[in-house]
Amino acid sequence: MAGSVGIGGLIIGVSLLVVFSMAVQTMSYQMETSIEVLDAAADPLPSYAIADASLLEGAILSVTVTGTGLGSGVVDGTLVANGGVGLGGFSATFTVSSGEIDTNSVVITSHGSYSTLPTSITVSGQGTLNPAPTFTFTTGNIFYANLTNTGDMTIKTDDVWLFFDGESPTKFSSVHRDGWAQNQATPPFASGNWYVGETVDLILPNPPSLTTRFAVTSEGYIAAEAI
């Protein structure tokens, strides 16, 4: 009697221990699996593409009206750069108010690119104006790139880094501004959200030293483009 009770107790005890160890093991597996699933679901990766990237050297970055041409008969028109050698292509518009050029009206529509810089900027196609409107300008390099969010998540531009020839890491949010092409005044910073499918223009006057490649990285995703 006593022997059978002891053996029975032993069998039940061993069974309980087996059940206990199986429960612990199952709990451990479930925990690992749930963490992996949660991790995979909660961490989408960014994805984007560089449509184009180019560096214009010897570009006209800004134009300032120093003589308004009051009384010269000047009318709304365009500006032309004189004496430059290279690709050229500078163009800008201005408007006239009360018979003189509005000093805040000059809009650069193309910065151009010159190996030998222009010597002057004058009004185009309005003959000899007297007194002649006068313009001063600054030159430098300007970098253009178009970037598209091709992934399925909104990317924070604060999380995106730009590299120029593999160096000079620059936060995208620190250089991404709205409206460089429409206004000479330094525009405000663009939205920090880069939405799915959105193509953003990066226009960067006087970029870091750059000759070969432009790269964009975020959370291990890398896109690069030859200049």
Binding site: V5, V24, L38, W161, K171, T217, G220
Partner: protein
């Protein structure tokens, strides 16, 4: 008969005592196991929330062999959710430890800790010369340790093949 009843009673009491002891032991062990499992869970969760990634252009990793020590300079992003300890980083190039490695954080103003989405600049030095030259492809491996978070710390690593330029 009376003897049989007494022995059965003794066996019953003994069985109850043993089963009570085993139950108490199992409950205690289960509690310990649950605590360990909780710590393991937090550790596993922390593991999943730590990550570092190469940042930059893998085709253009700066290599300067103009003077000794030669240097390889590259960048690593903290792409996890917690601060990492940049002072506890190990870097291996082609499976070999370089002469020395220095790590600094990138940004203006310079970050005081390596928080998520910030970069660390890694400068690997060789003296004597490494034998590398521009255009060589090398395998970079780095492992970094996190700051202590909730009493726990873990590590994250990255590896990538890059071209020196």
């Amino acid at each position: 008969m009376a003897d049989g009843g007494a022995s059965t009673f003794i066996m019953l009491i003994t069985g109850l005592l043993i089963s009570s002891s085993v139950s108490a032991l199992l409950i205690t062990e289960w509690s310990s196991t649950a605590k360990v499992a909780q710590v393991q869970q937090r550790g596993a969760q922390l593991d999943s929330e730590l990550d570092i990634e190469f940042a930059g252009d893998p085709m253009m990793v700066d290599f300067d062999d103009s003077t000794l020590p030669e240097t390889i300079t590259f960048y690593i992003e903290n792409s996890g959710l917690h601060p990492m300890d940049e002072s506890k980083m190990t870097v291996v190039v082609d499976g070999v430890e370089p002469t020395s490695v220095s790590v600094s954080l990138v940004g203006t103003p310079t970050p005081t800790s390596w928080v998520p989405n910030e970069l660390a600049m890694i400068v690997v030095e060789y003296n004597p010369a490494s034998g590398y030259s521009d255009g060589d492809d090398v395998a970079l491996y780095a492992i970094a340790t996190s700051e202590v978070i909730g009493g726990l710390s873990s590590s994250a690593s990255m590896s990538i093949e890059v071209r020196l330029s």
